[in-house]
Amino acid sequence: MKMKLFPVIALVGAFIVACDKDIQNPLLEPYAVSSLDENAGQWKPYILSSVSDIVVPEPKPVTDPAYLKELDSLKNYIAPRVTPENRAAVEHWGAGAVYRWNEIARELSARYNLPPASNAEGKYPVPDAANPLKDPKFPFANPPYAARALAYLSVAQFDALVTAWNYKYKFNRKAPYKIDSGIKPLLPASDLPSYPSEAAVVAAASYTVLIAMFPGEVPYLDGKLAENKNAMIWAAMSTPSDITAGDALGKAVAARVMAKAKTDGMSAANNQSRTPAMIETAKSIGIIEPWKSQESPLRPTMLPTYGEVATWNFSKETMIAMRPPKPWIVGTPEFEKDLKELQGIQKNQTREQARIANFWADGAGSYTPPAHWHRIGAEAGKDAKYSEVRMARTLALLGTAEMDAGIACWDAKHYYFTPRPQQFGVKTSVGLPNFPSYTSGHSTFSSAGATVLSYIFPERKNEFEAMALEASNSRIYGLIHYRVDCEMGVAHGKTIGGYAVQRGQTDGSGL
């Protein structure tokens, strides 16, 4: 009997041992940048009036005993004590501070992207910024919220970095390993002046924005801030005085950026008392059967007055002027055609249609469509070996376009207040967002994103446009948008992205 039992036991053991199921995020090779972007100190910031708004004190000369002591410490105290964990942190942050902080913001967006549950009275409590970890957690990082958080993050990184570049080349303090050849950097060496530290600038600016956007995550963000700064010391990329100056600069710039954020109208973006008038307006221009929540209990529409939040790259007058035209009205042959298309897909959805719908779904628990485009942009910048400042420019152009897309799309949605296909019995394979149908947010976000990225990476234009079109179609395949919602959203997004491109063409970068 023992003999017979043995194979069974052995097999069970083999199962347990053989299954290393952990999913590892891909390791990224730190890269030497393709250009130092030496003139980035002349690029035009978004919020600051100029790159000299914030004063960075002149560093001590490299012959100063205090600085020499810093070098000595890097070489003789820190380097011999770098642990494998420290090295792993260096590798991680070596992918780039802008890249990693963008990733952190996306991760937080995903973790906070859950609609509040209804309470016993059948109401949906509004998250409370003063009690961010109490159910429902603050924020509900829905697409408009995430678009805005990432826009301010990217703008703060950009404004802080162009300021940093100005001072880097003004003071021209070389990197520690350029001054003392006995210091061996753990990341690719560079001729970029190291004061103030660009990583510390980004870390402090990002931290300042993100603790405001995700106030329940202060301890988590404290840890990331400390690790990013320490990693640059462990790697001998910067001395503590480079880091301290960068930290102060990043925090000062981000404070200016957050002062602007506080007055952009977001605090009034959930004005539900305005929805009855919005519905009346929609009816007055011919919309019959306006949108109704399909949830039980009825959930108020998401951020009905987000359309009034301040835009980045065009005025509110321009936004109204380029609002998409009136969509098909329920009952017209054009509407019936679009509805029939959805009914046909519902009956016979192909696996490929389901795959596309799922790939781009970016629903609850994901990092949202605007953040999906941030990921695409950050990966493109990494593949092109962009410097920190050029990565920040890429994501600021993209991020402002994404927030503009959200605002202009939400304006259209709540101006027309059109019904979702689910009001006519259509089901969904991706989950139904709780706000009016026309135009498609995915289409608008994606088209705006592809337009900006096609300007920055012209050789990849076809690829980005194909992605945007697929993202747009995904909402038809997922059965939650009519074709007209998607097609007009794509056109709208292209115009919106075009304003960010104009900004990029005139920001002094010459790019």
Binding site: I16, Q24, Q294, E295, P297, A354, G365, Y367, L432
Partner: protein, 310 residues
């Protein structure tokens, strides 16, 4: 004597394997299963066609027991073909393949349908003396269609390939009263999703690969088994080994640590070639699963491919 009786008893297939694959909407089962002590004689084959109906309107969102007006009642129906074959009197092969469909009574989530996973198991009688017996089962399953794994609670399965090993202890008194205790460990493969990033364990994974936790299950049966009748009461427990929990107001996800305790009853009557069976189970407690009521009914047909040598 034990095996003489067994000749007439159709058996249950795969309860544990299939039941928990789709734990939010526990599946069906049928005849002989890997966790009992019942065997087909050599060259005997039993084919089963079974219909299963599982539903819940209450589920455990992590530890919070709740209902959801946007789901209403979640129902999983299945139609399965299964077979048990006696390779020898002591070694049986079990196979099964279900077609599964899902729907909600409320809300707007699109029901899913399709062929789910093919399962196979070998059951071997390791020891048998004076009514006391010990059995080992090795089994596995593999998805046979490209269904979507992470559209829970509508997905028809988790799309994970599995391998399991089980020990079954049985005591049959000559009165026909029997007692069974069984336990198993199931390794479950990671799965690919249509996405290139997802959130689990409060982290973002920039990958399309989901870690499906392995699982253990075990249970006890007390029943009566004589002539053409089998009747059993059972208690079962299923636990994932690790996994995360459904977040507040989030949907379930394949990475979840699903746990459930079920009670139920099973009867089978097979006076000749044809027989019928039926099973009822109810989830009394759980975590990250639905509180499921599960009903199954099947028709059995047994035959022998050769004249019995005795």
């Amino acid at each position: 004597m034990f095996s003489m009786n067994l000749k007439y008893f159709m058996t249950r297939i795969f309860a544990a394997v299939l039941l928990f694959r789709v734990l939010l909407f526990p599946a069906f089962l049928s005849a002989q299963q890997p966790n009992d002590a019942i065997y087909m004689d050599k060259n005997a084959i039993c084919i089963v066609a079974a219909y299963g109906h599982n539903s819940w309107d209450t589920y455990w969102e992590n530890t919070l027991k709740r209902q959801n007006l946007n789901i209403g009642t979640n129902t999983t129906q299945s139609f399965a073909l299964m077979a048990a074959a006696g390779i020898t009197d002591k070694l049986n092969l079990l196979v099964g393949l279900p077609y599964v469909s899902t729907r909600n009574s409320a809300g707007n989530l699109l029901g899913q349908k399709g062929l789910q996973d093919f399962s196979a198991a070998l059951k071997y009688k390791l020891f048998n003396n004076e009514g006391l017996s010990l059995h080992g089962t090795l089994g596995g399953s593999i998805p046979v269609s490209n269904y979507v794994p992470d559209f829970l609670p509508m997905s028809i399965g988790l799309h994970s390939a599995t391998a399991s090993a089980r020990l079954v202890f049985n005591y049959l008194h000559k009165s026909g009263i029997y007692f069974t205790a069984h336990g198993a460990y199931t390794a479950r493969s990671n799965v690919r999703t249509d996405r290139d990033s997802y959130q689990a364990n409060d982290k973002i994974y920039n990958s399309d690969e989901l870690a499906i936790p392995n699982a253990t299950d075990g249970g006890i049966n007390i029943g009566y088994l004589k002539n053409s009748l089998q009747a059993t009461l059972f208690l079962e427990r299923f636990d994932c080994v690790g996994g995360d929990h459904i977040r507040r107001n989030d949907a379930p996800y394949p990475t979840n640590d699903m746990e459930a305790t079920n009670i139920g009853a099973y009867v089978k009557f097979q006076p000749g070639h044809f027989g019928v069976n039926a099973r009822y189970a109810y989830t009394t407690s759980g975590r990250n699963v639905g509180q499921t009521t599960s009903l199954m009914a099947g028709i059995l047909y047994q035959f022998s491919i050769k004249k019995s040598s005795n």
